[in-house]
Subunit: 223 residues, 2 copies
């Protein structure tokens, strides 16, 4: 990373393999918004996310950060809710309050109860401070997915009905969180046989250009 950050905006500061950045890429693509990409390498030289100048944008030292005019915003779900309010079409939440709530319920189950436990800095703490080996880290990773996927599978069966996506016929925040989580589950060989509806929804999502173009492997900084 240079010492100069881009001055044009909107800009997304991300990393190809960050699930949180992946979510925001999907949302930006769904909205058809143009933005500049800036890549923050999370492991090279101990990680660029903890160094100046990026740390001034994001004192949590995490990706993503989204910058638009004077607004500097982190936390993927805060960014996506912002995009949905500022650029309402197509909506990323249903109209009905109860359905909106069910979409958020699924999104937060992933974004609060699975992803933060399995992200890079936690795995590094397990290995470094607690001396957990590769097998132990793998069990940890699987555990938090398998602890929460049964609930997601059950909610999807109820909420999706016969529609292709988590809340039925339209893509919502739930789907935007699901696809990156399914990508991670596959990357770490988590068995998915017990979650047929999630597998089906994920397959439907990955047929959409907005989702395909957001895939980690399709990013310019993919390694």
């Amino acid at each position: 990373m240079t010492t100069h950050l881009p001055t044009s905006n909107p800009t997304l500061y991300g990393y190809w393999r960050s699930s949180a950045a992946y979510r925001v890429r999907i949302a930006l693509n769904m909205k058809g918004l143009e933005y500049e990409n800036y890549f923050v390498h999370l492991s090279r030289d101990g990680g660029e996310q903890g160094k100046s100048p990026y740390v001034d944008l994001n004192p949590q030292m995490l990706v993503p950060t989204y910058v638009e005019e004077e607004l500097v915003l982190s936390q993927s779900l805060a960014i996506i809710e912002y995009l949905d309010e500022r650029y309402p079409h197509p909506p990323l939440l249903p109209q009905d309050p109860a359905r909106r709530a069910r979409a958020r319920q699924a999104a937060f189950a992933i974004a609060c109860d699975i992803h933060p436990l399995n992200n890079l800095r936690v795995l590094n703490y397990l290995a470094g401070e607690l001396g957990v080996g590769d097998g132990g880290k793998r069990s940890w990773y699987h555990h938090w997915i398998l602890q929460n996927f049964p609930a997601l599978e059950r909610w999807a069966q109820v909420d999706a009905g016969s529609g292709p996506y988590f809340l039925g016929d339209a893509v919502t925040l739930a789907d935007i969180c699901l696809a990156p989580q399914m990508y991670n589950a596959r990357r770490f060989d988590v068995p998915l046989d017990d979650f047929p509806r999630l597998v089906e929804i994920d397959a439907a999502l990955n047929e959409l250009t907005a989702f395909r173009n957001a895939l980690p492997d399709n990013q310019p900084d993919a390694q």
Copy 2:
């Protein structure tokens, strides 16, 4: 827990010491909503949250769950966003999209990056599967708070301005997440000297009846 769940509603299924239930209690109090309390004991007999009939309401086996008419909803932030849409007064998010986003940014930093790492089932996994002792669990607990509080302190300094709360003059979702997190930090003796603005905001919040009545120690199931 009996095998019968309450049939009147709205009902909040919670536990006095659950931070997530604590957040929802604050929101319900802020809105002045009447509801029935149902207590799910998280440790007695291995935890009632994993047993029938509660597990049918909440397949994630977590508290809280909020039931209102046909809607069965879990995930504290999904519940609070729902309450805010369904019962708009007083609002729990600012009007301006950028300010709303900053409120959610702080809320999610707590609800995604601190709280899920420090909750009971994770501490149980550390002790059980990984053999981490009390000292190691304490270090873990402190680590995730101290990793993220500097960002919250900095955001609070910018966003609160001279107002008493996280986003200035009105209580928002950020405050609803902050107060329970400060309670937890104190409970585990995390040093707070470096976070004067957070301490100040928390003190202002705890002067409000809605927050005081939601304190864990003031709940009927407190031990």
